[in-house]
């Protein structure tokens, strides 16, 4: 047999490696957007925009939605969606700030926020993985019930936190080497998320389930268990985010986390995670969050009003996605 003659010369090995890095090219284009924003901010309000305090501000404001987005990135990468993140943040933050919880102090608030997040994630996961519900519907139901429960707990009232150790965590005295603790948590979640997605079997299975659930199942992956864990993970991130929000706002309110689901999905998608699943990038998602937060910051510094902000935000989403498509265009 003359099987050894290759049909054509094999392409150089490096090319495929380069192709494998395409997700990172997306990130580069988003970095470009961020760079443009920084130039705009630096030109319009140099003294205020380029100050250390502003960097602290932008990163702090990004940290709550950023943690949510890391969880969302996993869910979307697996081909799912979690519409309930904002509602879970609301529920976890109000549950963690009731008078009864506050009696347990710092640990009680932290534990409750995380446990409520995990609990909601567990319900989502069981409904999707074992109840056979479409993620969109299951998490939409969770959105409605969690918001309702949050309203019931608060009775529409603002629950002010009086635990000093929690409040102090948001004040400048708690900064570690100039870095706010909230930002440290955000950074830690980002690094952990990146490692989990890119370096562990959990991440690999997530990508496989999102890329081709049937192939993943036939390859021996327990797809249902994986899905359960993914919604748990998203719930966990919501719980952590809820705690950060309690620290940031010094209170719990049932209106917390308003439209987080849309912000998190938008940040993940412009970051380069495929809405259809199978490809996800934590770095991209975090850059997406930073782009949004920076836009808000620049607009506020320039005293632009909400109507202009919203129009420009929509335009920038479209521009960022178009720019990415130009950067990564290639014929399948």
């Amino acid at each position: 047999m003359t099987l050894t003659t290759p049909a054509k010369a094999p392409p150089r090995e490096g090319r495929w490696r380069a192709l494998g890095l395409r997700a990172d090219v997306r990130n580069l284009s988003l970095l470009g957007v961020l760079a443009v924003l920084i130039v705009v901010g630096g030109l319009t309000r140099p003294a205020e925009f380029l100050a250390t305090s502003n960097l602290q501000l932008v990163l702090t404001q990004a940290s709550v939605i950023g943690v949510v987005t890391v969880g969302m990135t996993f869910v979307i990468t697996s081909g799912g969606i979690d519409l309930s993140v904002g509602a879970i943040v609301a529920l976890a933050s109000v549950w963690a700030t009731t008078l009864a919880t506050q009696e347990f102090g710092f640990a009680g608030i932290l534990f409750t926020a995380v446990a409520v997040g995990l609990g909601c994630g567990l319900v989502n996961g069981v409904l999707v993985a074992y109840g056979g519900m479409v993620p969109f519907i299951a998490t939409l139901a969770m959105l409605a019930s969690a918001r309702g429960l949050a309203l019931q707990i608060t009775d529409g009232k603002t629950q002010i936190v009086t635990v000093p150790s929690v409040l102090d965590l948001g004040l400048p005295d708690a900064y570690v080497l100039g870095i706010p603790p909230l930002v440290l948590v955000f950074a830690a979640v980002t690094v952990a998320g990146w490692l989990l997605l890119n370096r562990t079997t959990f991440g690999r299975r997530t990508i496989a389930v999102g890329g081709n659930p049937e192939a993943a199942r036939l390859a021996g992956i327990d797809v249902r268990r994986q899905r359960l864990f993914l919604y748990l993970l998203s719930g966990l991130c919501c719980g952590i985010a809820a705690f950060l929000l309690v620290v940031l706002a010094g209170s719990g309110q049932n209106t917390n986390g308003n439209l987080y689901e849309l912000d998190a999905i938008a940040a993940a998608i412009i970051g380069g995670t495929l809405l259809s699943g199978g490809r996800g990038t934590i770095v991209g998602s975090v850059l997406g969050v930073l782009v949004f937060t920076t836009i808000t910051n620049i607009f506020a510094l320039n005293n632009l009003q909400s109507d202009v902000q919203q129009i420009a935000k929509g335009a920038i989403i479209v521009a960022a996605v178009l720019l990415q498509r130009r950067t990564v265009r290639d014929g399948t």
Binding site: T5, A7, R17, T201, R204, R205, I207, G211, T332
Partner: protein
């Protein structure tokens, strides 16, 4: 046919590049009215790109197209349809949620003031289906409820619903049974009798001999032979043109002594209501057992049930005497089973991922500690597996979708080789694999058996089952009707068995 008919379609110097790949490199194609023009070539030779150019789905970088002697540009699929060019793709493009009639008239519904004249649409559809020899398909049924073969007919009806002069058929027989293939040939004959030209793409040389007039062979984006007479060109020559090799179907030697080890897999009374009944089966290490039967005989269902992807209604599967948890793929994989599924792209591969990750996906625990993947080890062990199977190109980081069909199949096999699986279930392992690569794949499969794997093989191509398997189980309507060593059977006998009791073709 006249010796030099005026050509209906002439494509000359068609060139089309994608980033990094020159898919077509100056291809010429000339089709006469009323002829069946066959397009041959290995996967990746440029056939798909060429028919997409012809369908208006791709714009060529260079080259000219003339239609009835006049130069044309096919700017969009609808432009091609307006000229009378219809394309039936291999992956059928029907809308499952719509009815047969709605699919047939999709995009050109008969309307009055924006309202579809449903009755007229159904009547014309019924007439088309009648003409195609399938009056039993109800135009009002949802396409999602139809069988694969029926969908193909609907797809064809859609093509014929336009005023069509040229039909492109991309592997139309791939999903069909022999009697359905016969019907397909009759339709093609009817069409050509009406002066319609057919561009016919198939891997099956015997089909091309039966219905083809002329053959154009593509290789690496070039037409290496044009207008060869389909009936008289020697197979050897065609294969040589396609592959540079001259051996189409070579089956590896069977081992001289039959395997004597204890069976590794035992299937007892396995059944799934409505699909197959009371199957008994034993599989020894080193042995290849083939399941032969028509589409719908329960072949794939049996494999998937043994594998735990479907839950049996009765019976059990044991590996080394230990019963498997029914309906659990993870349990089957843990016990040493592996499946290469029928729909490689839809069920087997993670198309967005690299070769390495496709191979390693079932063995992640092997190179990870506490969930942490050692990626260097992963890449190297995966590469060892792909090299063992001579997967080409030898690029672990290449996206698996860039591989040819045969090499994609090897990636799936390498996955189970790496996993150290002991029973391999192969469902249509050579579907979509071109002729040249098949022999190599056969050798790989036999090699795996020689290394002690037990292989259960399903194929709709009887020669493949007979040539590759040691033992053959013949299935008809979910029941084993005969069982014998492969060397005691021939194709004719097997076809008799699978169709026994059914009317002759």
């Amino acid at each position: 046919m006249p010796e030099h008919p005026p050509s209906l379609l002439t494509m000359s110097g068609i060139t089309k590049s994608f980033p990094g790949v020159r898919a077509l490199d100056g291809v010429d194609l000339e089709v006469a009215p009323g002829e069946v023009h066959c397009l041959l070539g290995q996967n990746g030779a440029g056939k798909s790109t060429l028919i997409k150019v012809l369908a208006g789905a791709h714009q060529p970088d260079e080259g000219r197209i003339t239609w009835n002697g006049a130069p044309v540009r096919l700017r969009s699929p609808s432009a091609a349809v307006r000229l009378g060019i219809a394309t039936i793709y291999q992956e059928l493009d029907l809308v499952e949620g719509l009815s047969v009639a709605e699919n047939v008239h999709l995009g050109h519904e008969p309307t009055t003031g924006g309202f579809v004249r449903t009755r007229e649409a159904r009547q014309t559809t019924a007439a088309l289906l009648e003409r195609l020899g399938h009056p039993e398909i109800d135009p009002a049924r949802r396409v999602g409820e139809l069988s694969a073969a029926q969908r193909q007919i609907v797809s064809m009806a859609r093509a014929l619903s336009h005023d069509v002069r040229l039909i492109v058929m991309d592997e139309p027989s791939a999903a069909l049974d022999p009697d359905e293939v016969a019907n397909l040939f009759r339709i093609v004959a009817d069409l050509t009798a009406d002066g319609v030209a057919v561009v016919y793409i198939s891997h099956r040389l015997e089909e091309i001999r039966r219905i083809g007039d002329r053959v154009t062979v593509l290789k690496d984006g070039r037409a290496v032979a044009r207008g060869l007479p389909a009936a008289t060109t020697p197979t050897r020559e065609v294969v040589a043109l396609m592959t540079g090799r001259d051996v189409p179907y070579v089956f590896p030697e069977r081992p001289t002594r039959p395997p004597t080890a204890e069976p590794v897999l035992r299937v007892q009374g396995l059944a799934r209501k409505g699909e197959f009944e009371a199957l008994d089966l034993e599989l020894r290490p080193g042995e290849i057992v083939g399941l032969a039967g028509l589409v719908g005989s329960g072949r794939s269902e049996i494999l998937e049930t043994v594998y735990g992807a479907r839950k049996p209604t009765a019976g059990r599967v044991t590996v080394d005497g230990r019963p498997l948890r029914p309906g659990s793929v993870p349990a089957a994989v843990a016990a040493g089973l592996g499946l290469a599924p029928e729909e490689r792209k839809a069920q087997g591969l993670l198309l967005l991922e690299s070769v390495t990750r496709n191979v390693s996906v079932s063995s992640l625990a092997r190179f990870s500690r506490a969930g942490w993947i050692d990626r260097a080890t992963e890449r190297e062990t995966a590469r060892t597996a792909t090299r063992t199977l001579s997967l080409r190109p030898d690029l672990p980081d290449a996206p698996v979708r860039t591989l040819s069909g045969g090499n994609q199949q090897k990636a799936v096999l390498a996955r189970w080789l790496l996993r150290g699986c002991r029973v391999l279930l192969l469902d249509e392992p050579t579907r979509g694999v071109d002729v040249g690569a098949r022999a190599e794949l056969y050798a790989v499969i036999r090699g795996l058996a020689d290394d002690g794997l037990a292989v259960l093989l399903v194929s709709s191509e009887v020669p493949e089952v007979l040539g590759l398997a040691d033992r053959v189980l013949v299935l008809r309507e979910g029941r084993v009707v005969h069982q014998a060593p492969a060397r005691d059977l021939d194709e004719h006998r097997v076809l008799d068995l699978v169709m026994e009791g059914s009317p002759a073709v």
